[in-house]
């Protein structure tokens, strides 16, 4: 089993926080059996704690990851094309978070009111904007994936979420317990922050 796979499995688990091998494999776009083996090995090494098919990175594993990131992603962190794509990602992020906010609350003079999704035109307008931003996201994630090909898996997951939204499953805009557009984007954001050693600003 490759060292790279071991590292990636723990990294993917760290992004997800607590997950089964299937979810981690899905996030990384890797084979589930291989990820399972890697997580079991990491459990024996004390880097991961597991119970009933769910795994979590242990404090030892977190410390190990923190040491590994600058080494594994040394090239990525100095790759001008990737860091430029990341800056772009942050700008799309700002627009997307504003969109999620407009999806959840509607601005009015003097404040805002919760969107109860009773106005189909309003919702379609937001979904239309999501389509625009999804096209921007495709381009920016595509550029990130040129440097780190596994990131293109996020693009597939974003596409799936967007398709569901378009088909009327509107929970997939910003729902929490599901792979909504926001959930996937949030994980991608976390993944990039870890890769590039940046700090979250909010």
């Amino acid at each position: 089993m490759s060292e790279e796979l071991n590292f990636l499995a723990i990294h993917g688990l760290a992004v997800r926080k607590a997950a089964g091998p299937a979810a981690v494999a899905d996030l990384l776009g890797l084979d589930e059996a291989e990820v399972t083996a890697a997580l079991e090995a990491a459990t024996e090494a004390g880097q991961v704690a597991g119970a009933r098919g769910m795994f979590m990175v242990s404090p030892t594993g977190q410390a190990w990851l923190a040491e590994q990131y600058p080494v594994v992603y040394a090239d990525a962190r100095t790759d001008g094309q990737l860091t430029e794509a990341y800056e772009r990602f942050e700008r799309v992020n700002t627009d997307l978070l504003a969109l999620f906010t407009d999806w959840q609350t509607i601005p009015t003079p003097g404040g805002s009111v919760a969107n109860d999704h009773s106005d189909a035109d309003y919702d379609r307008g937001i979904i239309d904007r999501l389509g625009d931003l999804h096209e921007k996201a495709e381009r920016v994630v595509g550029r990130c994936a040129e440097a780190a090909p596994r990131l293109s898996r996020y693009l597939e997951r974003l596409e799936t979420a967007y398709d569901k939204v378009l088909a009327g499953e509107i929970d997939y805009v910003s729902g929490v317990r599901i792979d909504s557009y926001h959930t996937v984007w949030f994980e991608l954001h976390e993944d990039l922050l870890r890769m590039l050693g940046r700090t979250r600003q909010e």
């Binding site: 772009r88 009015t108 909010e202």
Partner: protein, 589 residues
């Protein structure tokens, strides 16, 4: 006489929504009410079909009629397309009968050129505004019409820089003459019918491919033209309190999206009344006309140019739950709508919100320990915990936990789910934390300041997600009482008259009732359980005359109770359930 392929909108006729799209239809309707709306013309939906069937060709006859339409606008506006001395600028927007993702966005200020930018700088005495208007147009044209990959517009670049950015990405130039710009924008609107997003949407929803979108071309009003100009929004009633007073915001010297975008400091209506009493009075009169016409509160966009008022758009106003109740009752009292309409206009969810307990500001003030941006409304009390794993574990053990974090990552989401409220040091109302808490319905305050969340750990705190404050200790809450509020009482009476169920808050002593919760029939909170179906609930309630349970606050539960012949439901608060039953009796969702 040649066929009319372009429709001039001047209020003399009202073409159908199917023909010209919703926005243009609304413009025509405002015109026919005698209200001043910027002059406009429309290429109807049928022209989109023709264009697409002709392999995307704008034929000469159609183009000639577009030119006639422009001439009509020029005459009505007393300005000319491309003339620096009296420039006519237009907006170009798409408009299908039903709005649909993928249709082209609006291009504003089309018709601006280098010469006109210079002239506008002179005319307005504001070169910065002229430059910004020009750059913003080029950005929109590049982004929307030429499909350039550009970041969202940020003020700063000059027209030349913006043109260069568009050229670099697309290899195409933004046309330099207004008529070429117009031709390009019209074609782009028609083409957007066949965008991949629009096609995907129609496929999902079974909308016919053979339709099309209209194109509306409308004069731009210069909200920046010297004194007595500006732009704003007016709600015919206060959208937060529901008070029957027009409520709005405006931006002196602003244009179009400036107010909605929220990037500028806006003025209130009193300032408008003082600065421009005539405009203010006209605006209120027109607003009243529109509210009467629609029998519903309106959200109106307006722009004024040198003291001349124009209405741009009107639509049904969004409102807070409190405002929804007050407005519905007031409109019945004013004879505008019936009690049935009032029942239809307040959802059970809104009523639940109205009935939820609120903080007593006078009592809490002295206990305030932190303030930030309100991110999700609601009030909750719990013990501050920083670590999300600890929050989850203690919540599982039955404690009420407030997650207090410097920032939040996906690693914290399980802690946010477990918590009753969330507080973060950093971030604003559009942060990941804010988005997640709103999706979960957890009261939250974000951006309380670096290091503050840590100081809240281990303390019992009360979070007010409406006001954006955190208080130490458990704050007493004010219960909303229906009998103390005359409007709520009247609304409750209408709901009771229409409801087949009697809903009470406590079961009388000694009366037997079916308790669905005690039977293990409840609302599923995770994927290990499923919520019983309507039929299953009906079966469980068969033969009972009185019942209670969390399921009876859901539409299926209420329908089941009615179907099973239950006469009385015990629920607290009663009014949302009573309303749900009344709405079902009226065949409302």
């Amino acid at each position: 006489m040649s066929e009319h392929r372009v429709i001039i909108l001047d209020g003399s006729e009202q073409p159908t929504r199917d023909l010209i799209g919703g926005k243009a239809w609304s413009v025509a309707r405002m015109m026919s009410l005698g209200l001043r709306v910027p002059p406009a013309f429309v290429l109807p939906v049928s022209e989109c079909r023709r264009y697409l069937d002709a392999d995307r060709a704008l034929d000469d006859q159609l183009w000639q009629q577009v030119l006639d339409g422009v001439a009509n606008l020029e005459q009505r506006a007393d300005r000319r397309f491309g003339d620096p001395n009296a420039p006519l600028l237009v907006s170009v927007r798409s408009g299908a009968a039903v709005s649909m993702p993928g249709m082209m966005d609006t291009v504003l200020n089309l018709g601006i050129t280098d010469d006109i930018e210079a002239a506008l700088a002179e005319l307005t005495g504001d070169p910065e505004y002229a430059r910004d208007t020009h750059a913003r147009f080029l950005h929109a044209y590049g982004d929307i019409v030429l499909k350039a990959d550009l970041d969202s517009y940020v003020s700063g670049p000059t027209a030349d820089e913006m043109r260069a950015a568009v050229l670099k990405d697309t290899g195409k130039e933004v046309p330099t003459t207004p008529l070429e710009q117009l031709r390009g924008a019209i074609s782009a609107v028609f083409d957007s019918w066949n965008s991949s997003r629009a096609k995907a949407y129609r496929k999902h929803w079974g909308i016919a491919e053979a339709g099309g979108t209209a194109v509306t071309v409308q004069m731009m009003v210069f909200g920046n033209l010297g004194q007595a100009s500006g732009t704003g929004v007016l709600f015919t009633r206060n959208p937060l309190s529901g008070e029957p007073e027009p409520y709005g915001e405006w931006l002196p010297g602003g244009q179009g999206d400036d107010v909605v975008g929220g990037t500028h400091t806006v003025q209130d209506m009193i300032t408008l009344k003082n600065d421009q009493p005539a405009v203010h009075e006209e605006l209120l009169t027109w607003a009243q006309t529109l509210e009467r016409e629609h029998s519903e509160v309106q959200d109106i966009e307006f722009t004024m140019e040198q003291g001349r008022l124009y209405l741009l758009q009107t639509r049904t106003a969004k409102r807070s739950p409190q405002a929804a109740v007050r407005i519905a009752v007031d409109l019945v009292d004013e004879g505008v709508i019936t009690p049935d309409d009032a029942i239809a206009r307040v959802t059970p969810e809104q009523m639940r919100n109205v009935m939820s307990p609120r903080l007593d500001p006078q009592h809490s003030e002295q206990h305030r320990v932190a303030s930030g941006e309100p991110a999700c409304p609601g009030v909750a009390t719990g013990i501050g915990v920083v670590d999300p794993d600890e929050a989850e574990a203690r919540s599982r053990a039955g404690e009420s936990i407030v997650l207090v974090r410097p920032t939040t990552s996906p690693n914290d989401v399980h802690g946010m789910i477990a918590a009753v409220a969330v507080v973060t040091d950093l971030g604003g109302s559009t942060s990941h934390a804010a988005v997640v808490t709103r999706a979960l319905g957890r009261p939250s305050v974000v951006g309380v300041g670096d290091g503050v969340a840590e100081t809240l750990a281990g303390k019992v705190i009360t979070v007010d997600g409406e006001g954006g404050h955190v208080y130490e200790g458990e704050m007493p809450l004010l219960q909303t009482r229906v009998d103390e509020d005359p409007r709520l009482s009247r609304f409750a009476a209408w709901a009771a008259e229409r409801s087949p169920l009697n809903v009470i808050e406590a079961a009388p002593d000694g009366v037997e009732f079916v308790d669905l919760d005690a039977l293990g029939l409840g609302v599923a909170t995770d994927h290990h359980h499923t919520t019983p179906s309507r039929d299953e609930i009906t079966a469980a309630l068969q033969g009972a005359s009185m019942a209670r349970g969390t399921l009876l606050s859901t539409p299926d539960g209420v329908a089941a109770a009615i179907a099973a012949g239950v006469t009385t439901v015990v629920a607290k608060p009663a009014l949302p359930v009573q309303l749900m039953a009344a709405r079902q009796a009226l065949d409302l969702a």
